[in-house]
């Protein structure tokens, strides 16, 4: 990529202790988020996309989690090597996070205005009065009517969509360089989803911050992303710009994903699901994790885990047999 990167994740390895034993959540994840870029991290449940976000924000509880290796470089600094306090001071200020379920992601016992203003207080960016003023301004900016009045209300008095707007206000408060949006629309109704997508787009356009959009929704990726990173079983299997990804996905999993997606603009007709069950993180197959359902799988796939290969086009794929010419 020609654009300089805000965030570079390099061979990140994270595991968790569970009743079934230690489970590797990330098996060496590497990708970068460019400046002013919207990067979609696409994956299904258990693929490790949320763990990646949590690692960046320092939200991996240890124990039961542990970061076993790799680097997360943000602005050239390896966050994992930072002192906890220094890491913390970056969060919310230079990189911020938007959660999936905004209603439960807001503290139920504090007014929403207070919670937005707290961002300023934590980072010592404003005195109390101006922090509150900023909070109201931010609420107006994200489209909450009667913001001054509603700043004193509590999360339970807001709808899910409004809560997500408040989360966004919080995330953009200190004009961060990177916003990580972890399934920002999943818990919302379709019409409200559309509102939030519009808001995110506006926010991106106005602030110029990079957005790392974590989602399982291909529609959302198509709608917003510049580039897409596909994760499967704790690994990146494909890294591609969004147009070429939808036009000609490289990894068999990505192909399967696109084929299994029902589309509103197409009528009845059989879907083509990826066969079999999603990978069990406790019992991953040897070699390529996507080997069992993969139509192209050979003995090599069981013996050798495919590395993420950079292709000439700038795309990258982790499959022994994938290359653009073959398509």
């Amino acid at each position: 990529m020609t654009k300089p990167s805000v965030l570079e994740i390099d061979n990140l390895q994270v595991s968790f202790r569970t009743s079934g034993g230690r489970v590797a959540a990330l098996n060496g994840v590497s990708f970068a988020v460019g400046q002013n870029e919207v990067l979609a991290v696409l994956g299904e449940s258990g693929s490790g996309k949320s763990v990646t976000a949590a690692s960046v924000m320092g939200l991996i509880a240890q124990p039961p989690g542990s970061i076993d290796g790799g680097q997360i470089r943000f602005g050239g600094v390896n966050l994992l090597a930072l002192d906890a306090d220094d890491h913390r001071r970056m969060c919310g200020k230079r990189v911020s996070l938007i959660f999936q379920d905004a209603l439960s992601a807001l503290n139920p016992v504090y007014p929403v205005g207070w919670q937005i203003a707290e961002v300023f207080a934590i980072h010592g960016m404003a005195d109390r009065a101006s922090a509150v003023r900023h909070a109201v301004e931010l609420m107006e900016a994200v489209g909450i009517p009667a913001a001054a009045e509603r700043a004193g209300q509590y999360p339970h008095q807001f709808s899910g969509g409004m809560c997500q707007r408040i989360m966004i206000a919080m995330a953009i408060a200190l004009k961060p360089e990177l916003i990580i949006a972890d399934e920002p629309t999943t818990a919302l109704d379709v019409t409200i989803q559309a509102q939030i997508v519009e808001l995110l787009k506006e926010t991106h356009a106005q602030s110029g911050a990079s957005i790392m959009l974590i989602t399982h929704d291909l529609g959302l990726v198509a709608e917003m992303a510049d580039r897409v990173v596909v994760m499967y079983a704790g690994r990146v299997v494909e890294d591609s710009d969004v147009y070429r990804f939808f036009a000609e996905p490289l990894h068999p999993y990505a192909m399967g994903l696109l084929a299994s997606q029902p589309r509103i603009d197409r009528g009845a007709g059989a879907l083509q699901p990826i066969p079999g069950a999603p990978p069990n993180p406790l019992a991953l197959p040897s070699g390529c994790a996507f080997r069992p359902p993969c139509p192209r799988a050979t003995l090599r796939c069981a013996e050798q885990t495919p590395a993420l290969r950079k292709l000439a086009s700038g795309r990258a794929v982790a499959c022994h047999f994938a290359d653009e010419q073959a398509l």
Binding site: I60, A84, D85, H87
Partner: protein, 509 residues
């Protein structure tokens, strides 16, 4: 979650204030001008007419309020107090000459009118005075004021022992003692003035400078209450108190502990109306089965003496000639065997009712006695109960379908005349009597009507006849009390110490 967080690093946030400076120990008894007395229980009332409750009379009697006469502590004879002399002027009338120059704490003079008022007040139905019940008998008394310092006390029925009765009537100042309700701030003629009652904590007396007799030595007296004997004893040791009453035998081991005969006699009543206890051999066997020597110094204080009857031998009318039961388990077994041979259901289970806390180690003593009785062939089961339930078993009416029982009891005759003890327990209509013997009844009636030797001998005959030929009780011990006295206090308890703490006799060294 950050991995480097140290929980203990934040403990300082919640650092507790050091409070140890507040914890300096009180050392009250070091003060030279205060006597601190710790007792078992707080009085419910400080009214002079409630001095039948020992919790009350220990504070008031002859300290704040005084009586016309006192009963001697050594010999049970009447001694002058607020009255200087008395005589029986008719079978129903007694004339008392009062001491002159005595003033109540409120400044009013002590006169015949005050005596009349106190006696009248004590008999007012609505006040439910505690002394009215037993000590004034069922005989309404009226008064006639002869002059300021002479008063006639007139009974409805002839009463040969009016002076004994007057020894329990404390006289409060008529002006300061409301006639229609109990007072909480007693005003009397005694050597100490009531100062305050801080409920739940203490009662404070101060010296009465205008006392008619020799003044007491200590300017201020404070009373407090603790339920535990151990705690009371420790309070003296720890200089929190000077005098601690009611020290249990096991705590009464130190050089500071003074033991006194306390006029209490403990015994076990047998239900002689129900088999097998209706058979005298069984009752005798029960007496023979008790190893009293074993109990002395273990469960009971080492200074207790074996009782021969239900009152102390020095009480007017008691028998000095009776001897304690011997311990003879073989004889007891033989008696039971004989009774069994005659068809007496000796194996019937006998309930031994006990009252919790009747005296120190009350429960243990019954457990020991149960073991001794069962050892000779009785089948006794102890059942301990609190006072109310125990009273239902003690007092008439008993109920016809009751189980055969023994009942732990204790009696205190501090007034010195056997009539206070004998009627309720031995006469067939007595409220605690389980025997019905015409001879006993007539002896008691004769004694009650008479004075002097006749009275004494009638009662004495009754006691002796009962102990030998009826055996309604298992007499146990003439009890002692123990008071722990601080080293710097001169105090010798006497037989009346359960009802009277004679503060004016106490000095500090």
């Amino acid at each position: 979650m950050a991995p480097r967080f140290q929980p203990f690093g934040y403990a300082r946030i919640a650092a507790f204030a050091v409070v140890s400076c507040l914890l300096s120990c009180p050392n009250l008894a070091q003060a030279q001008n205060v006597l601190r007395v710790v007792l078992q229980e707080e009085p419910a009332s400080l009214d002079p007419c409630d001095t039948n409750h020992s919790a009350n009379s220990r504070l008031l009697r002859n300290n704040v309020t005084e009586t016309l006469v006192n009963v001697g502590a050594v010999e049970a004879v009447i001694e002058p107090n607020l009255a200087i002399s008395w005589e029986q002027t008719s079978p129903t009338t007694w004339r008392f000459k009062l001491r002159s120059g005595v003033r109540f704490h409120d400044g009013t003079p002590f006169t015949a009118a005050a005596v009349a008022a106190a006696l009248q007040r004590a008999q007012v139905e609505a006040l439910a005075c505690a002394i009215r019940g037993s000590k004034l008998g069922n005989n309404p008394y009226t008064t006639r004021i002869v002059d300021d310092l002479t008063i006639d006390i007139i009974g409805r029925d002839p009463d040969p022992i009016v002076p004994f009765r007057m020894a329990v009537v404390d006289i409060g100042a008529p002006g300061a003692t409301p006639a229609d309700r109990k007072t909480q701030e007693p005003v009397g003629t005694g050597p100490y003035k009531f100062e305050r009652w801080n409920r739940g904590r203490d009662v404070v007396f101060t010296l009465n400078d205008a006392y008619w007799g020799p003044k007491a030595a200590i300017p201020r007296v404070e009373f407090a209450w603790r339920g535990e004997s151990t705690v009371r004893a420790a309070m003296v040791t720890r200089n929190e108190a000077h005098l601690a009453f009611g020290i249990a035998p096991q705590d009464a081991t130190g050089p500071l502990d003074k033991t006194y005969l306390n006029a209490e006699v403990t015994f076990i009543r047998m239900d002689a109306e129900i088999p097998p206890l209706n058979d005298i051999r069984v009752r005798q066997a029960a007496n023979l089965a008790i190893d009293r020597d074993q109990l002395i110094g273990s469960v009971f204080h080492k200074s207790v003496t074996k009782a021969t009857q239900i009152v102390l031998p020095n009480v007017n009318g008691a028998s000095p000639d009776l001897t304690p039961w011997r311990y003879d388990p073989a004889a007891a077994r033989a008696l039971l065997a004989a009774a069994r041979a005659d068809g007496v259901p000796v194996n019937t289970e006998i309930v031994l009712y006990g009252r919790l806390g009747l005296y120190p180690n009350s429960t243990e003593s019954l457990e020991a006695i149960q073991a001794m009785l069962n050892a000779v062939g009785f089948r006794v089961r102890v059942e301990m109960m609190e006072t109310s339930a125990w009273l239902r078993r003690l007092l008439r009416p008993f109920g016809s379908d009751r189980p055969v029982s023994m009942l732990q009891s204790q009696h205190d005759n501090a007034q010195g005349d056997a009539v206070f003890s004998i009627g309720p327990r031995f006469r067939s209509n007595g409220n605690q009597a389980m025997i019905n013997d015409p001879l006993v009844d007539s002896l008691i009636d004769l004694g009650t009507r008479s004075t002097g030797t006749l009275r004494r001998n009638a009662f004495r005959l009754a006691f002796e006849y009962m102990e030998k030929d009826i055996v309604p009780y298992i007499p146990l011990f003439n009890m002692v009390g123990t008071v722990r006295v601080a080293a710097n206090v001169n105090y010798t308890p006497d037989v009346q110490a359960n009802n009277e703490i004679k503060l004016k006799t106490i000095t500090l060294r």
